[in-house]
Structure formats: C-alpha cells, structure tokens
C-alpha cells in the first residue's frame, strides 16, 4: 500500500495523473478538497499517523511530516519542483534536514532533476513520471 501525502492546495492535473497512472493500492492524505471527478481513495492528513505502508511526501512541509512518522515501512520524498530556489532567507541546515534526511529516500520526476539532486544532496532512488508509483512498489 502506498500513501501519497499531499499539500493543502491540490492541483487537478496531479490528482488526474494519480488516478490514471496508479492501481488500487494507494491512498491520498491531505487537508485539501479533492475534485469529485476523480474517485480516488482519500483520507484526512491526520490519519497518516496510523499509516503503515510506503509513504510518499510531495513537498517540503509534507516531507518534514513524513520524516517524523514512526509507522511507515518506507518513506519517500517526491521532488517535483526545486522549491528552495528564490526562497529567502535560505539556510543550508534546514535544506539538509529535508533533502539529506536519512529517513527519506528521494524520488524525482525527470532526468535533469536527477542529476541536479544527485550533485546537490544525494542520489534519488527513482525517476517517477506523472505520479506513476508502480515502480517503487515492485
């Protein structure tokens, strides 16, 4: 079972990709409202504390949360954008606690980010395009 931990603001395109590219073995956790167009399994974010499968964080705040969870068997951070670019003031120690966190394995969405993240932090485990997580469950 894979748990996808989403931020509050949900993009329809992301939900559509999750719906189209994943089988039934997944569940979304978020505080946001999901469009009824996509009948995806969904739970409030609070329920993630009881989740025991593989958890995937999708932005910095959810990565911080995922790193603190005790129950998941595996924890991933799916990096879809370089969130730190342009942020100020930026502190390396804070970035390090997320992107070099020993609890979290990294996943990127394209080859270019793979090389960048590998050089800046650590080598991502997977390249996952369009939210298709079937690879990481193998």
């Amino acid at each position: 079972m894979i748990g996808i931990l989403l931020g509050h603001n949900l993009e329809d395109k992301s939900i559509e990709n999750i719906y189209n590219n994943n089988d039934k073995g997944y569940c979304l956790f978020s505080t946001g409202a999901i469009s009824p167009k996509y009948p995806v399994p969904y739970l409030q974010k609070l329920r993630v504390y009881d989740f025991k499968g593989t958890i995937v964080a999708t932005d910095i705040p959810t990565a911080i949360l995922a790193a603190r969870l005790n129950l998941p068997t595996k924890k991933y951070f799916y990096i879809r954008s370089l969130e730190w670019v342009g942020f100020q003031p930026l502190f390396y120690e804070e970035l390090k606690n997320i992107y070099l966190n020993e609890e979290l394995e990294l996943i990127v969405s394209n080859k270019r980010d793979f090389n960048l993240i590998k050089n800046l932090f650590k080598e991502p485990k997977f390249i996952v395009k369009d939210w298709n997580f079937s690879e990481i469950l193998k």
């Binding site: 670019v85 342009g86 502190f91 390396y92 120690e93």
Partner: protein, 272 residues
C-alpha cells in the same frame, strides 16, 4: 584589552575581527554603525582600539567620542577619499590606516586582502559538501552579470553556492556557518571568486581558483583547466604570509603590543 570592529566593512573588517578573537585576553566586539550611535558604543565598551570604515571618519560623533576617550587607537579601513580632511571640519585623523594604497598623510599598512584564517581553522572534506565548483555570495552585490555567471556554473558543473546574498539559482543552497563554509572549501575542486578577495581562503587550502575572466567561454576554459590540475601546494605557498593573522600582528606591533602580536602568530603556526 577591548577591541571594536565596525560591521559592514566587508572582508577587511570580518577578517580582522575573526583573527583578533584568537588572541588570549582580547575582547572583540562588532559594532553595527547604522543602528548603534558611536557615543553609546564608546560609553558601553570604552574600547582600547577601534577599527572603522574610512567613510565613518567624517562622522562628527566620532570626533566627540575620540576626544572623550583619547586613549582609544583609531584604525581606518579602506581608502580615505582625497581631500576629506579639508572638506570636513569634524574629520579626525586615524592613528593607522589599512588600505590597498599608501596614504601619504598617515601611517599605512598596505593590504590587498588575504586568507581569513580565523574562519577557516582546520577544515575537513565532507561527502555531503563535495563539489567540482564552489562559489560564495557573501561579498557580492548580486548583479545581473553575477547571477548569469552563477546560472552558467549551476547548469554546467557540479556546483554548490552558499552565502548571505540570495541568488535565484538551483545550486544556491543558502546561508551556512563558518565551520560548514570551511568544510565546503575543503570539499571542492575549483573555486570561482566573484568578490575579488575570497579566493585567498581557497588558495590556503591548495585549491585552484578562478578570479578573473573575460566572458563565459573564458571562465569555462579556466575551470576545465583547473579541474584537470587538482590541488596544488604552490597555491598555499602563494598566500602563506598573506593572512589576516599577519595583518593583525602587524597592527598590534605598530601599537607596541608585541606580546599580542606574537600570540596571534603562534596561533597561526598551530594552524599550519
């Protein structure tokens, strides 16, 4: 002995302050000139020695403070503007000037930047900080040209950029402590200096540096060459006697503080 070093005096002020703190029995404080009045700082600290920007010499409050505390030795940092004394009736002459050119009117120590040894210490390479190219933004303005250069480096090499000036480049990883900064220096292959002085720190660690380049193509050629060469002892030798410890020793000796001057050179010996 109490020493006051004005903030916002670039690498010169930072280098001096970070060196003086290594001397036993010296109390070194930084002074935020913009937010703290001169007189308050003198009353609170009663400094024996003050390092100030040459521009601050024209501040009338400084003359009043120096009159009230006549034993305070005033050292100006940077070049004084010509004719400053004639133009400003409240101008005070410092006891010593530290700048890049000889000042004919006052005793001068010529210093064209050097190794900020006090902030480097004895660093160790770290896997997390490994890079082919390293840049620091602490003393740059963040101009369009500089950002374009950093974008090129970010896109073309395994680059890490740190520092207090934020730049919109993926390889910019934010502000770091002095210890991590020193370790990042020890973990890189080539340093690209955009501020004109920080390359000295990397030369101390035997690293190859690129300081001047005509254009991006020229920069690429120089980096590629430096990457092939690897660390070189000659780099260290070239700055061995060009450190802020040497500068501070010279300043202290100028004021007859031989013991303190010897003390800092002893500390330098321990870091060699």
């Amino acid at each position: 002995m109490k020493v006051l070093v004005q903030e916002d005096t670039g690498r010169l002020g930072d280098g001096i302050a970070s060196s003086l703190v290594w001397i036993d029995g010296l109390e070194v404080s930084r002074w935020d000139y913009k937010n703290k009045p001169i007189m308050d700082m003198f009353d609170e600290m009663e400094p024996d020695m003050i390092f100030i920007s040459a521009k601050t010499l024209t501040d009338p409050a400084l003359q009043i403070a120096v009159k009230r505390y006549p034993n305070t030795r005033v050292i100006s940092l940077g070049l004084r503007e010509e004719g400053m004394a004639a133009l400003c009736f409240m101008y005070i002459d410092p006891h010593l000037s530290i700048c890049r050119k000889t000042d004919l009117e006052i005793p001068t120590i010529i210093f064209n930047d050097g190794v900020m040894l006090g902030k480097i210490g004895k660093p160790a390479a770290e896997e997390d900080l490994m890079s082919d190219v390293l840049c620091f933004t602490n003393y740059i303005e963040g101009s369009q040209d500089q950002i374009a250069t950093l974008q090129f480096l970010s896109a073309s090499y395994n680059t890490k950029i740190f520092g207090s000036v934020s730049v919109p480049v993926p390889s910019y990883l934010g502000i770091i402590s002095d210890q991590i900064k020193a370790n990042a220096m020890a973990s890189t292959k080539v340093y690209v200096d955009l501020d004109g002085g920080s390359h000295n720190d990397l030369l101390w660690l035997k690293k190859n540096t690129v300081t001047k380049f005509k254009n991006i193509l020229d920069l690429k050629k120089k980096i590629d060459k430096a990457l092939k060469e690897g660390d070189q002892d000659i780099n260290h030798i070239s700055v061995k006697n060009k450190t802020y410890f040497d500068l501070c020793s010279e300043v202290l000796n100028f004021f007859g503080l031989k013991e303190a001057g010897d003390n800092i050179m002893e500390k330098k010996g321990q870091l060699l």
